[in-house]
């Protein structure tokens, strides 16, 4: 309440608040210029007429007449009625408009002179006199001084009646003694104050002051606050023309730094100077008049000795000692007291502080270590892919330290590209020379022109060759023969230079070079050699890569072809790269970047959550690189200075794996993707082993590592936790014995089918079409599972290749299994057979997986594209069988309705379509729901539960749909 009261006081509201403006209320139209009119105060239109009254109409129809016409006033005076004496004032001839605010003589309320402080105010007079002295024209108010009306203002009269006399200050009368004591005893002088040892004070102290006599306060000369509008130094007044020119110089010294007190005394007190001043123009050029008595200084000589050369008073009279004066003399002279008082007098309004400012304690800088060098060398961030292998080798040898010689060179010896490489920046995109911007025809024309010019020189001694060269220029290389040196002299230099620069640029793509001579492997080999040499920057790339066993003609032709090919397919860095940006994922690249670190198994966490053990068990900590700029904006030092990385560290994984797009959260796919190799990846993606990370798939596959007490603990905990609630948490309790226990269909993640099902379904569907070719190979493989199709998977022999997949994840509360399930040797090649693409972690990499539904469709597009690439996989038929197996399992285990079964049995392609359309309708429905007024927004998942991945939600939706 109190706070409310305060808040009330904070605001002041006037009147009633306006209604909030309507969004689509019509805006008031401004009046156009031609409709704007000027009216006078009586509401009449004003018309534009002429120069008078600013061009508007005035007077009586713009005349000086009146309604009666322009009749002069008649002078009538009789004995009875004397004509009043009329004093015509200017106002009589002016119009009313002229007195208005914007007229030529605006009448306004002003203070009458009675109430204004009059000119008799002596204090003000003094101040004015002071200001007149510093005014640009000195003494310009002399006339005003002479003619001053004898009048006092009301204020002065009032003061007089209260007992004030001229020359006194205003204020209560006081005893002089205590006042002086107070002034002495008060060391607190802040800011401007009179210098404590002024002459007046000392005078008064000497006086005898009787008791019970009070004095009026002293009159105070008001400080004149004239703005300083000159460029002089503080306290400098400049030459007083009265002194310098009007004959005062004869007296001798001109003091530029006149003290204030001197000046005021000369102003107020004695007017002797003025008396001596001659009126009018004076000077040597005008001679000496008859009335003037002094004529000794006719020829004026001004010497420098008339002027001060030292600040702070005159030199000692003898002038014997200069700056080489003996010490004691100097010390005596530099009595700080006198100097201080002098300075204080010079600077008007300033006084010396009585207290010296506190001396600042200066701390010495820290001692530098002996071997400190005031330079910092950055370790270069070198991308090995971009640098030629020689450089990389050299860097490796030198331990990553960028070559020391470049550092020794200093930054001014380095050119831009060297500095760029030192800073670890990438090169600027764009053409390196004007030639790169020309199109090929223009280039050829230029080339031809240049060549013909050269030929004219060489035509004298090599006519045949030049002819050949001309033909070459007209792009018929096969028909011409030319000698080796002719080519090397004329053809190679321009192109090879350009090629060198193009291929050596760091952006030159190394991943997938163009292979123009694919049909001729030997030739292609030579071409590759040539390209690689080009990349290394060798000048003899072309010559050295050709086959020496070939004939001259063949070599010449090949040389030409290579150069052409290299020109054509040179890296896009130069000419076009400024227009295009590189694709985020290369189409022909089969790998995709996924985060290096993966989150731990969800099951572990759920177990931990169930046991209310938050903390270490439910937390994953990753290395995460914030952007440099972000750190700067947050005012935080970069935790990883020098790392070019942003976000989570990434590794490359197979791109065309369905499991990229399955979300981790639904059934703990976890790390097991890493354990599956990617057989179909032609580029052989690097496999990164992830030690120490565990998922429930690993647990049966590996011996319980002693170093991981957490895992054992968790599995124990999990079996404990799942024991009492076997019924509802089928996720952990999907056993063959479950047939008798029906489950609710809508139990969210509880009756989620095991991951194997998805794997089997989706992996096989991706390879459907290429399956026919591989059938025969798979025959033997699939025979095992086929027989055991309807047998509960737990009874399957573990040797069967299908088993590891068929098994639903880790935590069967099998009657027999030991809490740490029996280790199964990790068989990468076996699993490879089974699953094809290895299992990378779920999406979250790249923008293309932004919604799981769209990522699905994308994934399928990818799949279709890459059908051929998956030819190598052998598991296709096999998969379909497995699907059947899984369906049984699915039926038994998860108790989905028949509709769901139906939907699963549909052909895959149809199912896929249906899935997409269903997802769409679902989305649409959701949207409709959102749009409805008053209804809060729906979320895509619930906060409380683990959100389901879109795929699984669709599966879950399907029964409802088909029912």
């Amino acid at each position: 309440m109190a706070s409310d009261g305060e808040e009330e006081q904070d605001f002041v509201t006037y009147g009633t608040p306006l209604e909030p403006l309507e969004e689509d209320a019509p805006v008031k139209k401004p009046v156009p210029i031609h409709e704007q009119t000027v009216k006078d105060e009586k509401g009449r239109y004003k018309r534009f007429h002429g120069a008078f009254t600013g061009g508007f109409s005035a007077g009586y129809f713009n005349t000086v007449g009146s309604k009666e016409g322009w009749t002069p006033s008649t002078f009538i005076s009789s004995r009875q009625q004397k004509a009043a004496k009329v004093n015509a004032r200017p106002e009589d001839f002016m119009d009313d408009e002229d007195f208005s605010e914007h007229g030529i003589a605006p009448s306004e309320i002003t203070t009458t002179e009675d109430f204004a402080s009059g000119p008799r105010d002596q204090i003000r007079d003094k101040a004015r006199a002071l200001s007149s002295l510093v005014a640009p024209i000195p003494g310009d108010n002399v006339l005003e001084d002479l003619i001053s009306p004898a009048r006092t203002s009301v204020g002065i009269e009032l003061l007089r009646k209260m007992g004030w006399k001229e020359g006194q200050g205003v204020g209560p009368r006081a005893k002089r003694k205590p006042r002086t004591q107070k002034a002495d005893g008060g060391p607190r002088v802040y800011g401007c104050a009179l210098p404590p040892n002024g002459s007046e004070e000392s005078e008064e102290e000497d006086d005898y002051v009787p008791e019970n006599v009070t004095f009026a306060p002293k009159d105070v000369t008001p400080i004149d606050f004239t703005p300083k509008d000159d460029l002089h130094g503080l306290g400098y007044r400049g030459l007083d023309p009265q002194q310098a020119l009007m004959g005062v110089s004869s007296t001798g010294h001109v003091d530029l730094f006149t003290l204030d007190s001197d000046r005021t005394s000369s102003l107020f007190g004695d007017n002797q100077m003025r008396h001596r001043r001659r009126a009018g123009v004076s000077g040597q050029a005008f001679g000496v008049g008859a009335l003037e008595d002094d004529d000794e200084d006719i020829y004026h000589r001004d010497t420098l000795s008339n002027y001060d050369s030292v600040l702070g008073g005159e030199e000692p009279g003898d002038g014997l000692y200069g700056w080489t004066a003996p010490e004691q003399y100097n010390q005596k002279k530099k009595g700080s007291n006198t100097e201080a008082s002098y300075l204080g007098k010079i600077l008007e309004g300033f006084t010396l502080a009585s207290k010296a400012p506190e001396a600042k304690s200066i701390f010495p800088p820290p001692d530098l270590p002996r071997d400190f060098r005031p330079m910092h060398y950055f370790r270069p961030v070198v991308d090995v892919a971009n640098v030629s292998p020689i450089v990389a080798q050299a860097l490796l040898v030198s331990g990553g330290q960028m070559s020391t010689e470049s550092a020794e060179k200093g930054r001014h010896q380095l050119d831009a590209s060297q500095r760029r490489s030192l800073l670890g920046e990438s090169s600027l995109k764009g053409p390196t020379s004007v030639f790169d911007l020309l199109d090929s025809k223009d280039k050829e024309r230029l080339e031809g022109i240049r060549r013909s010019a050269e030929e004219r020189k060489t035509v004298a001694f090599a006519p045949e060759e030049s002819r050949g060269a001309i033909v070459t220029a007209s792009t018929a290389p096969a028909a011409t023969t030319f000698s080796r040196n002719a080519l090397s002299s004329r053809f190679q230099p321009p192109d090879s230079e350009r090629l060198l620069s193009a291929w050596r640029s760091p952006t030159a793509d190394t991943a997938q070079p163009f292979r123009p001579f694919e049909k001729n492997p030997e030739k292609q080999e030579r071409y590759d050699l040539y390209i690689s040499k080009l990349k290394q920057g060798r000048k003899d790339a072309l010559e050295s890569s050709l086959d020496p066993n070939m004939t001259e003609w063949e070599r010449g032709r090949e040389r030409d072809e290579f150069v052409r090919a290299a020109m054509l397919y040179k890296p896009s860095s130069s000419s076009l790269s400024c227009r295009f940006t590189r694709a985020k994922h290369q189409d022909d690249d089969n790998s995709v970047e996924v985060p290096r670190d993966q989150e731990n198994d969800v099951d572990d966490k759920q177990a931990a959550v169930r046991m209310k053990m938050f903390g270490k068990l439910t937390r994953d900590t990753f290395e995460w690189h914030p952007d440099k700029l972000l750190c700067k904006r947050f005012n935080i030092p970069d935790p990883y200075p020098g790392s070019g990385l942003v976000g989570l560290p990434k590794v490359k994984r197979d791109k065309f794996s369905v499991f990229n797009f399955l979300t981790l959260s639904d059934s703990g796919l976890g790390d097991n993707g890493n354990q599956h190799a990617a057989p179909a990846a032609p580029l052989g993606t690097p496999k990164t082993a992830q030690p120490g990370k565990k998922s429930r798939w690993d647990i049966p596959a590996e011996a319980e590592p002693p170093k991981d007490p957490l895992g054992t603990f968790l599995s124990m905990a999990r079996s404990e936790a799942s024991a009492p609630q076997q019924g509802q948490s089928s996720e952990t309790t999907s056993t063959p014995t479950l047939e008798s226990k029906p489950e609710p269909v809508e139990g969210e993640e509880d009756n989620r089918p095991p991951m194997d099902l998805f794997k089997a379904i989706f992996a096989s569907s991706s390879d459907e079409k290429s399956s026919s070719e591989e059938e025969s190979e798979d025959e033997d493989n699939e025979s095992g599972p086929e027989q055991t199709e309807l047998v509960p998977h737990a009874l399957l022999p573990p040797s069967s290749s299908a088993v590891p997949e068929v098994k639903p994840p880790v935590t069967y509360p099998d009657p027999a299994p030991p809490p740490p399930p029996p280790p199964l040797p990790q068989e990468p090649e076996l699993e490879e057979e089974e699953f094809g693409p290895r299992l990378p972690p779920p999406s979250s990499s790249g923008p293309e997986h932004q919604s799981s539904i769209s990522s699905w469709t994308q994934a399928e597009v990818h799949k279709k594209k890459s059908k051929e690439k998956h030819k190598a996989k052998k598991e296709l038929r096999h998969k379909e069988k497995k699907v059947g197996l899984f369906l049984c399992h699915f039926l038994f285990m998860s108790r989905l309705s028949k509709c769901c079964l139906l939907s699963i049995f549909l052909p895959f392609s149809i199912r896929r379509k249906a899935r997409i359309t269903r997802a769409k309708t679902r989305r649409r429905r959701r949207k409709r729901r959102e749009i409805r007024q008053w209804r809060p927004l729906a979320v895509q998942g619930t906060r409380k539960k683990i959100a389901a991945a879109a795929q699984t939600t669709v599966l879950r939706v399907s029964p409802r749909q088909s029912c």
Partner: protein, 278 residues
């Protein structure tokens, strides 16, 4: 002589309705206090954002420029700027006094659920349904974000910024804490917590009280639930209305609570207000 130490006050619960503001901007999607708690921002489903005086309930300014309903807003520390996010996938930075759009930040692929200034109002952090959190620089006019945090595996429903940490809550059941100072990402799996309220289908707000003693959450049954932070016991169940309480915000320093239900915003306090003010 020494007086005994004053006893620690029991935390005040906001149980008294002080004021009801009819925002007249459709459903109020979110309601937020400004940095000092004197004003509030209401995000309406009619594409407008409105600034109100909390103590008087008067409308101060309407900010229109979003293309779809406004989902969240935040005021900068100096009250000079407001950022808001919307279903139209944009984040807008507003000038408070003129009501003009200072910047419109596009880049999210879906509706933006949550938005927050950092402490110095140099960066806007926005979390979206497209599973990403984007950090926008507002010092320079860069069209693209400084950094995109795409670690979340489902819609990012809320974002908070502290001095050097970003907290993001995602529908995948995880809270991610990006520690800029340490350069680490902590992912916490959270599957249970304060129970009792009803939250099945909507995105609802929750917050802490001003002294961090209690956790308050909206609920779909028309109540605001208030739990003790440490014990987890339900300490108060505040009946707000019949519909879903969609958003709430706690005063930064005083026991005042804002709740948004349907088109109204209600101000709650610890003590009943004077009758004359009512």
């Amino acid at each position: 002589m020494a007086f005994p130490q004053p006893r620690t006050q029991p935390p005040q619960l906001t149980q008294h309705l002080l004021r009801t503001v009819d925002c007249q901007q459709g459903a109020v999607r979110a309601v937020r206090f400004n940095a000092d708690g004197n004003y509030m921002l209401s995000c309406g489903s009619d594409k407008t954002l409105r600034l109100w005086s909390v103590s008087r309930g008067t409308l101060l300014k309407t900010y229109s420029g979003h293309g779809y309903e406004v989902l969240d807003a935040d005021g900068s520390f100096d009250n000079s700027q407001i950022c808001s996010c919307s279903s139209d996938k944009t984040v807008i930075l507003w000038d408070v006094t003129t009501g003009q759009v200072t910047r419109k930040l596009r880049g999210h692929a879906g509706k933006v659920n949550s938005v927050q200034f950092n402490e110095d109002a140099t960066v806007i952090i926005s979390g979206s349904i497209d599973c990403s959190v984007r950090c926008w620089d507002i010092r320079f006019r860069r069209p693209d974000p400084i950094q995109i945090l795409d670690e979340a595996q489902d819609s990012v429903s809320s974002v908070k910024v502290s001095e050097h940490e970003l907290l993001t809550g995602s529908v995948d059941g995880r809270v991610r804490r990006y520690d800029l100072r340490m350069g680490q990402l902590h992912v916490d799996f959270i599957n249970s917590g304060y129970t009792g309220h009803k939250n099945n289908s909507y995105k609802l707000d929750c917050c802490l009280s001003n002294k961090d003693t209690h956790v308050l959450s909206c609920s779909e049954d028309g109540h605001v639930y208030c739990w003790d932070l440490v014990e987890g016991s339900l300490s108060c169940k505040l009946p707000v209305g019949k519909a879903v309480v969609q958003s709430l915000s706690f005063h930064p320093s005083q026991p005042h609570l804002l709740t948004a239900i349907e088109g109204r915003v209600q101000v709650w306090g610890a003590e009943p207000q004077d009758t004359d003010a009512q």
